[in-house]
Symmetry: C2
Subunit: 140 residues, 2 copies
């Protein structure tokens, strides 16, 4: 087992680059809190400017996310390069299905495609309050 | 854009198979709640029986996870096969660094290897209260 040494780097990803990375991906995870219990769901998302949006059916995400603090995350690890990264977005979720606020408009300008089967007539948006990221690369 | 039709399947993964899948992977995400705000962190984990365990430093995860409800999740998507899956574990986190309870013993029998740099002298365990999974395959 190789020890982690000072040659390894852990660095913060600037917010602009976090947004760029978010724009290049389409599969992430949203965490919502139901009665004090956090739950994590994978979602296919798209970006409408800084707003993250995904489609959903009439389930837990639609019942508990809107109006509440949620977290959205994407990450990746390249085992050949020994490089890992993650981007985390904190914010409040909005039911953007047919609302007329700015966040909902931004959300509806994007077109996330849900890969998982099942009717998903509703649209959830996350208005980011904080966008952070970090990455590392292990050196040989 | 292809509509989701009745030919697509979304099925639950039995708990035994969820545990088997958890045992075959080593990178997941843990969600913890800090002042009502869920946060998602990628972690390298290992299984000690049904107990999930990962190493950490003296940061947010160690300060807020132990004694609290947390969520752990892994997922995957094979774009060629059009198949996706996810496994979610709900439970209470324990600081298993040097405690003598059963969960901590089970955790310390496993050897997670943290890929991200930085000292991680502490050990967190998740005692699962609920293990669920689902998968789908899109048909042509």
């Amino acid at each position: 087992m190789k020890a982690t040494g000072p040659q390894d780097e852990l660095e913060e990803i600037p917010q602009d680059e976090c947004l760029e990375i978010l724009g290049r991906h389409s599969l992430g995870r949203v965490a919502i809190v139901v009665d004090g219990q956090p739950l994590i769901f994978p979602v296919n998302y798209a970006m409408g400017g800084r707003v993250i949006t995904f489609r959903t059916g009439s389930g837990t995400k639609l019942s508990h996310a809107p109006g509440s603090k949620v977290c959205f995350e994407i990450d990746g690890y390249d085992s050949l390069a020994g490089a890992g990264w993650s981007v985390m977005v904190q914010g409040v979720a909005v039911d953007a299905t047919d609302s007329f606020d700015d966040v909902s408009w931004a959300a509806r300008a994007a077109a996330p495609w849900a890969l998982a089967p099942g009717a998903k007539p509703f649209r959830v948006a996350i208005d980011p309050s904080e966008i952070t990221g970090r990455r590392f690369r292990r050196r040989a």
